[in-house]
């Protein structure tokens, strides 16, 4: 039996590992640096940005939690992100079902208009969103952020979920019609359960966006009661001085839920992304 370990195979294998380790380092080292920096003093950071802490400054985490009211902001972020995900998922599921499974005049035009939003920078919506939210009396309410985050994510979600639903074989739906399923049951009992991976993918994107968003949160809110965690991080940056150590501690606290969520759901996210891209 001929050995697979030829010189070419060994060289390619080494190159593969070098590339993988390099990519891993590029992805992981900034987070490691952030973690170490969150345990140093500001002076240590200024003098030597890549050093090891002389003494671990755990108090940076206490400062982060107390000074910027992080627990309250964290709760607000959870409420906003979860609500935006729920509303976005409901709207997306219903919209995508119609756009992918029903035949009607203007369907493609509606789909194009909805998904074209992906190409428009969110920053260009600042003035219209601000006007709408203030005129509807929702300024400084959590619901303002929920509505905006839901709306901003509709194009991406529709794009992903419609493609996913289109990949479900028509025969399944036809069989359910023969069995007596009406419009609502076809949606809720046939298509919706089969689209779970696609919906989870869209929901994850919506959650990550809602969790990390800063500009709209700053624009549409003005008090601790309605602000989100990303504004808490910026609380350590004043006009002239930045408390980097406490800010980095706040960043670490902030990224835990989104990283945790990704670890918990990553198989569904990847599955949804790949499955949606394959024609059935």
């Amino acid at each position: 039996m001929k050995s697979k370990q030829t010189p070419t195979w060994i060289i390619l294998n080494i190159l593969k590992w070098v590339l993988l380790i390099t990519l891993l380092a590029v992805a992981v080292l900034p987070v490691v640096w952030l973690l170490i920096s969150s345990l140093r003093t500001n002076l240590e950071l200024q003098v030597s940005p890549f050093g090891w802490p002389e003494k671990f400054q755990w108090k940076n985490y206490l400062t982060a939690l107390s000074m910027a009211s992080l627990p309250r902001l964290l709760l607000n972020s959870v409420v906003v992100a979860a609500s935006a995900v729920i509303v976005n998922t409901i709207v997306t599921a219903m919209g995508s079902f119609i756009l992918s499974r029903e035949q009607f005049k203007g369907r493609d035009v509606i789909y194009t208009i909805l998904t074209a939003g992906v190409l428009v920078p969110v920053i260009s919506f600042m003035v219209p969103y601000f006007s709408l939210i203030t005129k509807t009396g929702l300024y400084n309410h959590l619901s303002a952020l929920v509505l905006v985050y839901t709306a901003v994510n509709i194009p991406v979600s529709i794009f992903l979920v419609t493609a996913f639903m289109k990949s479900i074989p028509k025969e399944l739906e036809e069989a359910s019609i023969i069995d007596g399923c009406g419009f609502f049951r076809r949606f809720s009992q046939i298509i919706l359960p089969l689209s779970r991976s696609g919906l989870v993918t869209a929901a994850t994107f919506c959650f990550i966006y809602s969790w990390n968003e800063f500009v709209m949160a700053m624009l549409l809110t003005s008090s601790i009661e309605s602000r989100t965690i990303q504004l808490g991080i910026k609380f350590f940056t004043s006009q002239f001085i930045t408390d980097y150590s406490s800010m980095y501690a706040a960043v670490i606290i902030t990224i835990i839920p989104s990283v945790g969520g990704y670890i918990f759901l990553h198989d569904k996210i990847i599955g949804g992304l790949t499955a949606g891209g394959v024609k059935g």
């Binding site: 003093t41 500001n42 002076l43 950071l45 200024q46 003098v47 030597s48 940005p49 000074m67 910027a68 409420v79 609500s83 729920i86 509303v87 409901i90 600042m126 003035v127 601000f130 006007s131 203030t134 009396g137 300024y139 400084n140 309410h141 959590l142 619901s143 929920v146 049951r185 809720s188 009992q189 359960p193 800063f214 500009v215 700053m218 624009l219 003005s222 008090s223 601790i224 009661e225 309605s226 504004l231 808490g232 910026k234 609380f235 350590f236 940056t237 004043s238 006009q239 002239f240 001085i241 930045t242 408390d243 980097y244």
Partner: protein, 421 residues
């Protein structure tokens, strides 16, 4: 069927919890107390935050049942500026009271009817408490739509411990002396100055450039075309400072890095405003007590001047409600009173456009007051004089100038194109 039930339950829970998000502004009951929203940048770890918070608490206690000032914390100054611009563009004032950094960009806000014009409401007693020059600088076409509050001078900071190690015991009096001293500092293995081209304004180097430009072109230099020989000379010198008398990482470096080099003792001369003097990490440096503050040594026809700026002007939203307008004016008078300003200055070391008898106790802060009072004249820095867009272009082209990709003449010409006339 069970799945349908689950869906219905989820929708019902959501519809029941959604109203919980509604809070704050939905109360439509008639209010006797007038609530004033203040979008304050003096929050968080800003040195003025504790005094401002105490002043607001004191005001609210004295006016309980009549006026209540609610501070809306504004973290991240750049995002705050964007919020002010967006809300004014949408036809709304960002709050009842808010601050701006007065410059040609923000002066365009004066065209908005959303801002209260203090020129019609300010009485002579109140007016007399302000520095007349700052009031004049804040007036546009006869309108005073922002009151000058915080001011600053932007001198040069010398680490005299480092200078002494290099055999220099006195501050340079001329530009030639300064470069000779810098050569001595270089000889002991230290970078003479902190320079930078990063961020949106190349802050530290922008201050140096402003000193040079005013020295060669006079205090009215900013009214001249940017292609004026004074600016070309200033550009030539700033290039020399970055390439010969700074750290190797100056091109692309941000303000944090530039200040970090000075704090770490890697550079001997720095430039910044009085707010930097109150930093705990600066006070912890071994050379803190040796720091000397001064203007630029004699370089051109203009000497003994100081670069200054209006750091924060305070605005108020115009109101058709006379009671609310009166409440806003009452709070503004309280906030800008010499007594209130003294309290803020005592804890922060910041400088203000309101006249007080306050003299700081801390030596470094005292030097700032002395330098401001002893200067024959003052002139704005580039950002304060030309606005944020011109300064952004300055910062973006400064790196190219330092790397030798463009000449000082080309540099000035490129910045000149950004100036709206």
């Amino acid at each position: 069927m069970l799945r349908n039930l689950k869906l219905v339950v989820v929708l019902m829970v959501f519809s029941l919890t959604f109203p919980l998000f509604a809070q704050g502004q939905s109360d439509t009951a008639p209010q006797k107390e007038i609530e004033l929203r203040w979008a304050s940048i003096w929050v968080g770890n800003d040195s003025k935050a504790p005094a401002v918070e105490a002043l607001v608490a004191d005001y609210n206690a004295k006016n309980a049942g009549k006026i209540k000032v609610v501070v809306e914390p504004q973290p991240d100054y750049n995002a705050y500026e964007q919020k002010v611009r967006t809300s004014l563009a949408a036809g709304q004032a960002p709050a009842d009271i808010f601050t701006i950094k007065f410059n040609p960009t923000t002066a365009t806000f004066y065209g908005s009817k959303l801002l209260m014009d203090f020129s019609t409401t300010m009485d002579s007693d109140w007016k007399a408490t302000f520095d007349a020059g700052s009031l004049q600088q804040s007036t546009v076409d006869g309108m005073l739509k922002s009151l000058p509050m915080e001011t600053a001078i932007l001198p040069l900071w010398y680490n005299m411990d480092a200078f002494n190690k290099a055999g220099v015991t006195t501050l340079p009096k001329t530009l030639d002396e300064m470069f000779a001293d810098f050569d001595k500092v270089k000889a002991i293995g230290m970078a003479p100055t902190s320079q930078m081209t990063g961020d949106t304004n190349a802050w530290t180097s922008m201050i140096w450039f402003s000193h040079f430009a005013v020295a060669f072109g006079g205090t009215d230099v900013w009214s001249k075309p940017f292609t004026d020989p004074a600016f070309v000379q200033a550009a030539t010198l700033i290039k020399k400072m970055i390439t010969e008398y700074s750290t190797a990482d100056a091109v692309g470096l941000g303000a944090g890095g530039s200040g970090g080099h000075f704090l770490a003792g890697r550079t001997a001369v720095f430039s910044n405003g009085p707010w930097y003097a109150g930093r705990a990490d600066l006070a912890a440096t071994p050379f803190f007590s040796s720091i000397k503050i001064a203007g630029l040594p004699a370089a051109g026809p203009t000497t003994d001047f100081m670069i200054s700026r209006l750091q924060a002007n305070i605005c108020a939203a115009s109101s058709k409600d006379k009671a609310k307008e009166a409440a806003i004016l009452d709070f503004m008078k309280y906030l800008t009173s010499p007594a209130s300003i003294t309290k803020i200055a005592e804890t922060s070391g910041a400088m203000f456009a309101i006249k007080t008898d306050y003299v700081p106790k801390q030596e470094l802060q005292k030097q700032f007051y002395t330098a401001a009072n002893s200067a024959k004249t003052t002139a704005f820095d580039l950002e304060a004089a030309m606005g944020s867009e011109v300064t952004l272009e300055f910062a973006q082209q400064l790196g190219a100038l330092a790397l030798g990709k463009i000449t000082p003449e080309e540099f000035c010409s490129l910045v000149d194109r950004k100036i709206e006339r």
